[in-house]
């Protein structure tokens, strides 16, 4: 019966050979699955041949059984190998693909934040981190807070330093003492009237002066700083300014104070900072400081005793300093804005340049 067994095994080998040919021609996993069903499924061509075993005797049966299992395993492996090969081919093909990611991407519309807002916030963040309160006041202000309490005498030429917009009296009244605030300094008075020392505030905000040319707008922005406590001195002002410019410009920059006059401080000084922009155009004369190496930032000084008194603070016990400078100019310097007018006309080609 050995011949019978050999014959049966040959049939199995024939089926295997047939599958091998088909597997090699298969091009996707679905075909391979169909082949698996066709040959190795419950009613598959190979599976059906298991029935031959029943016609064999002991040793023949044993030999056939061994051969059947071996061929079945081989056929499964054949299908599996082809499957792996197909996956590898597909992966290789996928990896060979090139997409041009430099084509313009469809994007959502990016909004933008005004350079003045961005600069004001940056200034606020620095002073908030130093423990300062941020305050603001009304834009339409009484002369008392805008001038009188800040030691601008009535009929004093110091009032000419700030050309003032006056406000028509409200109908039915004849109050002619309202102005558009010419500086943020009235907030100093308001802060003193509503707080007890120690007072540490900054007051960024909109201010107005009758000035309109290439470098002036009738509306612009200032930031005011005020610090009142026992034992506050010019040296403290200098230290605070140094910390401020360090945090704001991200570099340790020297501060220079020069004597000057503002009615609400005594002594008064202008403060300059070493130009942080000279590095922008290496090898050329800096177009910001014009080669002087310094940028004039603003005015400062020790709060005038008359101002302290107007704010209800005893100048013998407390001293304080104040400073102020323009936010618009700072924003122009930071962002290289050439004309102040651009800030307020709303051309989207200008605005959209500042997404942060």
């Amino acid at each position: 019966m050995r011949g019978v067994s050999d014959d049966a095994i040959q049939q199995l080998q024939g089926i295997d050979a047939e599958l091998a040919t088909k597997v090699d021609g298969a091009v996707d996993p679905e075909q391979l699955y169909a082949l698996f069903v066709e040959y190795l499924g419950k009613k598959g061509k190979l599976t059906k041949k298991r029935a031959l075993m029943g016609k064999l005797d002991g040793p023949g049966k044993k030999a056939f059984g061994r051969a059947f299992n071996a061929i079945k395993t081989a056929m499964e492996a054949r299908i599996d190998a082809r499957k792996q090969a197909l996956v590898a081919e597909a992966r290789a093909a996928e990896l060979a693909r090139f997409e041009d990611l430099t084509m313009p991407a469809p994007r959502g519309h990016l909004g933008s934040i005004h350079p003045l807002t961005a600069t004001r916030r940056k200034l606020e963040r620095v002073f908030l981190s130093m423990g300062y309160e941020v305050l603001d006041g009304p834009h339409v202000e009484a002369e008392q807070y805008n001038f009188d309490d800040l030691n601008f005498g009535k009929d004093h030429p110091a009032r000419d330093m700030q050309d003032t917009f006056f406000i028509d009296p409200q109908e039915g009244t004849d109050a002619r003492d309202l102005v558009l605030r010419t500086h943020t300094s009235p907030v100093q008075v308001r802060a003193m009237l509503t707080r007890e020392p120690p007072i540490r505030i900054i007051a960024p905000g909109t201010v107005f002066r009758r000035d309109d040319d290439a470098t002036h707008s009738p509306m612009f922005h200032q930031i005011e700083g005020l610090c009142i406590d026992e034992g506050v001195s010019m040296a403290d002002l200098k230290a605070t300014m140094e910390r401020f410019v360090g945090a704001f410009f991200g570099a340790k920059l020297a501060i220079r104070l020069r004597p000057s006059y503002f009615p609400f401080v005594e002594p008064g000084a202008e403060f300059d900072v070493v130009c942080p922009f000279c590095a922008r155009n290496p090898g050329e004369t800096c177009n910001v400081c014009r080669g002087s190496g310094w940028i004039e930032l603003g005015g400062s000084g020790m709060v005038h005793p008359n101002v302290l008194r107007a704010g209800g603070i005893d100048p013998e016990r407390y001293t304080g300093w104040a400073f102020g400078f323009g936010i618009d100019r700072m924003a122009m310097l930071l962002h290289g804005v050439t004309h102040l007018r651009l800030m307020f006309e709303g051309d989207v080609r200008f605005l959209e340049q500042f997404p942060c």
């Binding site: 909004g111 423990g131 406000i167 309109d212 230290a239 605070t240 005793p305 051309d347």
Partner: protein, 843 residues
């Protein structure tokens, strides 16, 4: 104020300290608080110009109007061609620029042949030398000058550096060279030298001056002269005045100007022969009195104007300007010289009333010297008038009115350190104060008694003296020392609420970011608006008027953000064709309910207009230029932008139809809606819609371009609250679609609101009955799916398709129970809606 370096130098005692060079002096003056804003060099090239003697002159052989002049320039004699008519006779002296000289302005002198005669050099006029504006003829020099003398040696100050100094209003003393020199001398540690002058001692003549307003005129010197020969001022004086930008008039006027520049003291000279009775009366004008000022202006005076009158009528506006009728001119022989001190505030009022700002009023307003400086200046002028016009002083009178008391200020050396944070050694402090002519009595070493000189009216308190010490000691040595023992950052940052809104600054900043995140660009508009334009946008608010606007279009403060944003849209439209999406957060101003401030600032705050913080969004739609992009925005885009931005700051807003009678005038009456916030106190916070077509027309928007606008009143916003989590549902929802036949103007929001209202008021059949609730794939409990108006729908009607979601919290719901809840709810909602649309029904 223009300050001459040569003049300053002449006022300082040369000594062990070297006088600084041009740049050094500039930074020294600036360091004293007198900021140098500009520097001009004069006299470059004049080294070559010498004194020449005329040795012969004849007419040019081929040109009658030209002369040939033989000049001896000290080394040789040359012949030059000269066209001037005033060449002196043989022996006369002229200014000669030899061949090779280069005159100011870059004019090079070379040998030139003029009409066949070679000319080797030039006889110069003042214009050519850059020392005058007088063009008639060449300069004729004094006979005493030797040929070959260099002009720059003969006329000191002809080579000079002039600084443009910005003098702050507190420093009237620095409006003259002596004041600046005093500062410079103190800083350098050298001595100020002023020519010693004898006080003039004229024959007393009390008739010359009558003072009837002593409260306005503190001092008045009146000196009478006879026998004056008024001609040109001496060359050195004219050169100095020219360097300071003053035009030479005649010797007397030039002398008053010279003393003005030297002492900072305004003086005036009258032609005494033209004064009625030859005397002056210092008095208040009478209302309506008139006079003609020196500049020709006709002035109508008030009884608040101080005048210098003669026996009959005003001849000068005191401290402001002289009169045309009594000015000194060539031919004047008698003079009355005025040196006075007028009260600053009154001079300022008069100058402003008549809109005159003169060198004189500028100084009196700031406070001239009524003491030694005034007396010295008058003495100086008397001397110069005598020297240069030959006039004799024939009489004088000096009257005193009221002047401010000279304060004695106590300076505590310990306080200097306390205010400045740096110590100034006692002897240096004493030296500085002495240099400034402040008399110090230091018998109490802890409290010096300091007498303030009359030339420093700005010094009145201890801090003023500390500033003087600081100025002269310099700030370079100022240490950097935070004095606050507690250090920085210990106080928690608190952002105070903006008085104009209910939001904190942090919340407003968050709102800015939220708008940016929706793709809008932040715009900052001017606070000013045009009254007419504003009225077209906002007819309700009472705008705040600006009394002195810079232009008519800035006559009021904005009550509304829209006009400014439409200006920006129009500008963008005119410049390019890009779609516009802008937002602004800014204040508006109106006279309405007074701010109800409390506390120490209340009395002021109640009188101020209301300032509101508003947010506006403006989007454009339509193609602005051919081929341009249409962003396809609509009024609903604006709602979405506003609601999304508000959600980012913790405010849940929704859109409601405009309430009856609350239509907003700036928006299309049929394309507008309101923004509301719900919660415990539902309230309106803003409006959205399409900009009214009349406004599109007014702003000239192109055909087919529309603007959509939305605004929020930030003061009406509830404070943002932390968002509370809603539990995730554990059981599935079931939905029912609902198609309604409604009138077209029955807003979807009204329908949804009625359904929700019905859901919240219908009594549930059981505790765990299905309720209207957000669906599985949406956050909405009622979705509006479609507004259909096509085929099969009657005109004026529409089919509104909605989807309602139902859910029970603790179990799955059955179809039948959902249907019964749904039917009851829809029936209730429809009966409520019939009050608005009687024919609303299910389809």
């Amino acid at each position: 104020m223009l300050i001459s370096r040569a003049w300053l130098q002449s006022l300082l005692m040369p000594g062990r300290v070297a006088f600084p060079d041009e740049a050094g002096l500039s930074s020294l003056i600036t360091g004293l608080g007198l900021e140098v804003e500009g520097v001009t060099q004069f006299g470059a090239g004049l080294e070559a110009v010498v004194v020449g003697v005329v040795r012969g002159k004849r007419v040019h052989p081929s040109a009658d109007k030209l002369g040939l002049v033989e000049i001896d320039d000290g080394t040789r004699t040359v012949e030059v061609v000269c066209g001037a008519g005033n060449v002196p006779d043989v022996g006369g002296r002229i200014a000669f620029a030899p061949e090779g000289a280069e005159l100011p302005g870059g004019f090079k002198i070379g040998a030139r042949t003029i009409r066949g005669v070679e000319s080797r050099g030039m006889i110069c006029s003042e214009v050519e030398l850059g020392i005058g504006v007088d063009g008639d003829g060449i300069m004729v020099l004094p006979e005493a000058w030797a040929p070959g003398d260099r002009l720059i040696d003969r006329v000191p100050g002809i080579v000079d550096t002039v600084y443009e100094v910005s003098v702050t209003p507190n420093r009237p003393d620095a409006l003259g060279h002596i004041g600046v020199a005093r500062d410079v001398a103190t800083k350098l540690g050298c001595t100020l030298v002023v020519d010693p002058l004898a006080d003039p001692e004229p024959v007393p003549n009390p008739k010359l001056v009558t003072l009837s307003a002593p409260e306005r005129c503190g001092r008045y010197f009146g000196y009478a002269f006879e026998g004056a020969a008024v001609g040109p001022a001496p060359l050195w004086m004219r050169v100095r005045l020219h360097r300071l930008g003053l035009r030479s008039i005649n010797s007397v006027v030039d002398i008053t100007n010279y003393v003005l520049m030297e002492w900072g003291q305004p003086l005036h000279a009258f032609d005494r022969a033209r004064l009625a009775e030859g005397r002056v009366v210092v008095r208040l004008a009478t209302d309506g009195e008139t006079m003609t000022a020196l500049d020709g202006a006709e002035l109508t005076l008030t009884d608040d104007d101080l005048v210098i009158a003669d026996a009959e009528r005003p001849q000068a506006l005191a401290g402001v300007m002289g009169g045309a009728d009594s000015g000194v001119a060539e031919g004047t022989t008698t003079l009355l010289l005025e040196g006075a001190w007028f009260a600053p505030r009154d001079v300022r009022r008069t100058a402003r009333r008549h809109q005159i700002s003169s060198d004189s009023s500028f100084r009196f307003e700031r406070g001239a010297d009524h003491g030694v400086g005034l007396a010295r200046a008058v003495a100086r002028a008397v001397q110069l008038i005598g020297d240069h016009t030959g006039a004799r002083l024939v009489g004088g009178h000096y009257v005193r009115g009221e002047v401010p008391e000279q304060p004695t200020v106590v300076l505590r050396p310990a306080r200097v350190d306390r205010v400045l944070g740096m110590a100034i050694p006692t002897d240096e402090a004493r030296r500085i104060l002495a240099g400034l002519e402040i008399e110090v009595d230091a018998s109490d070493p802890d409290a010096w008694s300091c007498v303030i000189p009359t030339h420093r009216p700005d010094l009145g308190i201890e801090e003023d003296l500390i500033e003087e010490l600081m100025r002269h000691h310099g700030l370079d040595a100022l240490p950097s020392a935070p004095a606050m023992a507690t250090g920085y950052g210990t106080q928690a940052p608190t952002a105070l609420r903006d008085p104009a809104g209910a939001l904190s600054r942090a919340e407003v900043d968050a709102l800015v970011d939220a708008f940016v995140a929706t793709g809008c660009h932040e715009f900052v508009g001017l606070a000013f608006a045009c009254p007419e334009t504003l009225a077209a946008v906002d007819g309700h608010s009472v705008p705040v008027g600006v009394t002195n606007p810079m232009r008519k279009q800035h006559g009021v403060l904005r009550t509304h953000l829209l006009p400014g944003m439409l200006d920006a849209l129009a500008l963008n439209t005119a410049r390019h064709g890009r779609p516009v999406r802008l937002f602004e957060i800014g204040r508006t101003y109106a006279w309405d309910s007074p701010p109800t401030g409390t506390g120490p600032t209340e009395s002021i705050d109640r009188r101020l207009p209301t300032e509101r913080l508003r947010a506006g969004v403006l989007l454009s739609s339509g193609v602005i230029v051919a081929g341009g992009e249409d962003a396809g925005f609509s009024a609903q885009t604006v709602s979405a932008v506003l609601c999304d931005a508000l959600a980012r700051v913790g405010v849940q807003a929704h859109v409601r139809p405009t309430s009856d009678g609350d239509t907003v005038a700036c928006l299309h009456p049929g394309v507008q809606a309101e923004l509301w916030v719900g919660g415990a106190e539902p309230r309106r916070i803003g409006h959205v819609g399409r900009v009214h077509p009349d406004l599109s027309l007014r702003w000239d928007l192109p055909e087919g371009v529309d603007a959509f606008y939305g605004e929020l009143e930030l003061g009406a916003l509830p404070p943002g609250t932390p968002t509370l989590m809603v539990g995730l549902p554990r059981f599935p929802a079931t939905s029912r679609d609902l198609s309604l036949d409604t009138a077209q103007n029955l807003p979807a929001w009204t329908v949804v609101d009625a359904l929700r209202h019905a859901a919240s008021t219908l009594k549930p059949s059981a505790e765990d009955a299905p309720k209207l609730a957000p669906g599985d794939r949406t956050n909405a409990d009622v979705e509006v799916l479609e507004d259909y108006r096509g085929k099969g729908i009657d005109p004026g009607r529409r089919a509104l398709l909605l989807r309602l979601h139902y859910r029970a919290a603790e179990r799955s719901v059955k179809d039948a129970e959902v249907q019964s809840v749904h039917d009851a709810l829809v029936d209730a909602a429809l009966s409520a809606l019939r009050s608005t649309d009687p024919s609303v029904q299910r389809r």
